[in-house]
């Protein structure tokens, strides 16, 4: 005989309504193993029929202790961990961290490295949006879009492999510049990609934007007003879909974003469809930025030549005593950053990605904290999904675009 287990609701009594306690509504565990929670998000749902009465996100299943781990590593070595946070925006994480370190120690970055950083960050943005588009289209069961998106994403990953030898965890952007100059094939590879991607984006739009079934699933679903969105601390496309014009690349430009001409796409409805439109348009704008950056890519060094902080080139180590000493010092004890704290924010594909560094003057950061957009955007989920159906909840989770590695860190 099977044993009947008594399930107690006492632990979550404060989270659910009284109707759940009396058994009038149903409590349903969605995740952490569920195809549409984009990783290991667990949602505790209180359902009335299929209508969501209450949605309680439960995070932490992917906790890796990255921030804590970074405190035990020198500034250079800690960077490798940032790749693993938001695994859809690896270059962007390196970028933010490098900017923070540079601000802490006051390091200048040569213009070529700045332009390369922009190109790679925008390529990553396209790649991340492609994955978002594919998975959120898959959430409403438009399965072909998913595979088309991954076909194009593959091209970006090839470019990443070309420049860094790694497809995803590149650690290519380093404090003081980039790892090394891009190979000669880089420009052609990027230009080829830029040639195909606009028409591919048109293809995705042809499959979804005017599709009545897609409109039916997205229009008016999970709306949020500009005021609410600001109050909940949303950033990124989720915020801009509500009509708040906030893009860090435009309003607090870094790494030379001010030289490039691009639009910040805005919608006012704030529903799933608006977020979709905004992200699609953002991909096109990224293409524009890459095009401009590539056209005026300056020549010159790609790393700062302040060898107190940046390792000297390999060729110098054999001939220069100084270089050898720097090399030895940097790879054994690292460099010491001046005491103080900095906060640097960049526009990741998901929103404002901030890096807070606190230094006690030693070679290792005293405290590292990332303000990750997925974490802040996820908390709005209960607000967005209330009163919608389970099927809509899936679409809403997709539209907020969370990456669990980014949330749990």
């Amino acid at each position: 005989m099977t044993q009947i287990q008594e399930v107690s609701l006492d632990e979550i009594r404060h989270l659910v309504s009284d109707r759940a306690i009396s058994g009038e509504t149903m409590l349903l565990n969605m995740g952490p193993q569920h195809p549409s929670t984009h990783g290991v998000l667990r949602l505790l749902l209180e359902l009335d029929g299929e209508t969501v009465v209450n949605c309680i996100p439960d995070i932490g299943f992917l906790h890796t202790g990255i921030e804590k781990n970074m405190e035990a590593k020198t500034y250079q070595k800690a960077e490798v961990m940032t790749d693993r946070m938001d695994y859809m925006n690896t270059v962007g994480n390196n970028f933010t961290y490098s900017l923070a370190v540079e601000k802490l120690i006051g390091l200048d970055v040569p213009p070529r490295a700045q332009a390369l950083r922009v190109i790679l960050a925008e390529l990553t943005r396209i790649q991340s949006h492609l994955v978002w588009l594919g998975t959120s289209a898959l959430d409403v069961a438009a399965m072909s879009v998913f595979l088309y998106c991954f076909r194009e994403r593959e091209e970006v990953l090839h470019i990443m492999e070309l420049v860094s030898g790694q497809r995803m965890m590149t650690t290519y952007i380093r404090p003081g510049g980039v790892w090394r100059d891009v190979p000669v094939e880089f420009e052609k590879a990027v230009r080829d990609f830029l040639k195909i991607i606009p028409q591919r984006i048109d293809e995705y739009e042809a499959m979804l934007t005017k599709n009545p079934l897609f409109l039916d699933r997205t229009l008016g679903i999970g709306p949020i007003s500009a005021e609410d969105a600001t109050n909940w601390g949303l950033t990124g496309a989720t915020l801009r879909a509500s009509g708040v014009n906030y893009d860090l690349r435009r309003f607090a430009p870094y790494s030379g974003y001010e030289q490039y001409d691009f639009d910040v796409p805005l919608r006012t409805e704030g529903d799933v469809y608006a977020r979709y439109i905004v992200r699609m348009e953002e991909m096109r704008q990224s293409v524009r930025i890459i095009q401009q950056a590539l056209d005026k890519l300056p020549l010159g060094p790609v790393r700062s030549n302040n060898h107190k902080f940046v390792p000297p080139p390999r060729s110098e180590i054999g001939t220069s005593m100084e270089a050898l000493i720097h090399h030895f010092k940097l790879w054994t004890e690292g460099f010491s950053a001046p005491q103080g704290s900095v906060y640097v924010a960049t526009e990741s594909p998901r929103g404002e990605l901030g890096c807070y560094l606190e230094s006690d003057g030693g070679p290792k950061p005293y405290r590292v904290h990332f303000r990750t957009p997925s974490f802040d955007n996820l908390q709005v989920l209960p607000f967005l999904s209330k009163g919608f159906l389970v099927a809509d909840l899936v679409a809403i989770v997709g539209s907020v675009d969370i990456v669990l590695g980014d949330i749990d860190r």
């Binding site: 299929e50 069961a141 072909s144 088309y148 979804l208 079934l213 039916d216 699933r217 099927a391 809509d392």
Partner: protein, 369 residues
């Protein structure tokens, strides 16, 4: 008692069941390859040339998989549910004629198992039994996802059976008989799809809902309900559900071909040529096979293209669009037959269909604002 008749039935039944079972196995391969082709990937091509042994490998895997039965399920119903689902799917094909009447071994043989007078009624009755299997599977699994799947399935069937039945009425009106053979022969000069195009399209949409195919695969909806009603099934019991879905796809495609696309008949313009079924009876099953294949291809194509509908929207669509539209079509057909002017049926029904499309479009654009 005519023992030869029983032998004839036996042989025909065995052949049909074998055809359906192999058809199911190769339909899975067909679907996967076609989907792969549409989605810029390769699909299964390792087992045998072009993957033709893949279904066998799948079958072996499923048979030898562990049969898991979760605790606290209602055992009897849990075991019964897959059977209740799969049997009607096979049985429904009994009335479908696969070819004309043949003279063979000095006997007259019908190329269908049961040539009953109420063939259409039989189809309508059998088709809806399968949903009991799904509801019972969802209910007995002791799983909330499965239960939601079962609930969705029943809601879906209620919304779609009426439209489906009215499409049967359309065909019955045009034929004047419910016998499958008569329906096919009545399409000798003109397929019903050309007389009643909107009816044919509605029927195809309703069949998608009937067999739980995308975009109406809400009972399964892996993105929402993980696997819906068969979440808790493993091994051969799962395979039975799988089998039921695909056999039903074949059967319902054959029914659609029979009702609206001339069944085993050739194209009307090939009537008095060598390609006519009247001259070479063995062309009948081939034509049927080709038509079923085309319809199945459309089902796969739709799955690759369209997002899933929400289940409340599906019910709204069923009750507010499909049902009034099919009622209007029945009225138009009856009018055309009464006035003995068949040509007004396609014109009027296309007009009515366009009006409905206009309404749907307007409601969507209103939502956009």
């Amino acid at each position: 008692m005519d023992w030869w008749l029983i032998l004839e039935w036996l042989i025909k039944s065995i052949v049909l069941v074998l055809v359906l079972l192999t058809g199911f196995a190769y339909l899975t391969l067909f679907e996967r390859r076609v989907l792969a082709f549409m989605q810029a990937r390769i699909g299964p091509n390792r087992a045998g040339p072009q993957g033709i042994l893949q279904p066998i490998a799948d079958a072996v895997k499923l048979i030898f998989k562990e049969e898991l039965t979760p605790g606290q399920v209602v055992k009897a119903i849990f075991v019964l549910a897959p059977i209740v689902t799969v049997v009607p799917a096979v049985v429904i094909a009994a009335v479908i004629p696969w070819g004309p009447t043949v003279e063979m071994f000095g006997r007259t043989i019908n190329l269908s198992i049961a040539d009953i007078d109420l063939g259409i009624l039989y189809i309508a009755a059998t088709a809806s039994i399968a949903v009991y299997g799904i509801v019972l599977a969802g209910w007995s699994s002791n799983n909330k996802y499965a239960m939601l799947g079962g609930l969705r399935s029943s809601a879906q069937v209620i919304s779609y059976e009426l439209t489906l039945a009215l499409c049967f009425v359309l065909v019955t009106l045009l034929t004047g008989s419910m016998r499958a053979m008569d329906i096919v022969e009545a399409q000798r000069t003109m397929w019903f799809f050309f007389i009643q195009p909107v009816g044919g399209l509605i029927f195809l949409v309703a069949t998608l809902a009937e067999v739980n195919r995308a975009p109406f695969d809400m009972p399964e909806a892996e993105q929402e309900l993980t696997a819906g009603y068969h979440s808790e099934y493993a091994g051969m019991k799962f395979a039975l559900f799988f089998m039921a879905e695909y056999i039903k796809m074949i059967a319902i495609s054959a029914i659609a071909a029979m009702l609206f696309f001339g069944g085993y008949r050739e194209f009307p313009f090939l009537q008095n040529t060598w390609f006519s079924v009247d001259q070479n009876w063995w062309l009948g099953p081939l034509y049927m096979f080709a038509k079923v294949l085309v319809l199945l291809f459309f089902m796969v194509w739709i799955r690759a293209t369209l997002p899933r509908m929400r289940y409340d929207r599906l019910m709204a669509f069923g009750w507010k669009v499909m049902l009034p539209l099919s009622l209007a079509l029945v009225f138009i057909s009856a009018l055309g037959i009464m006035l003995q002017m068949l040509w007004i049926i396609p014109i009027l029904s296309i007009a009515v269909g366009l009006v409905f499309v206009g309404f749907i479009n307007r409601s969507l654009t209103m939502k956009r604002r």
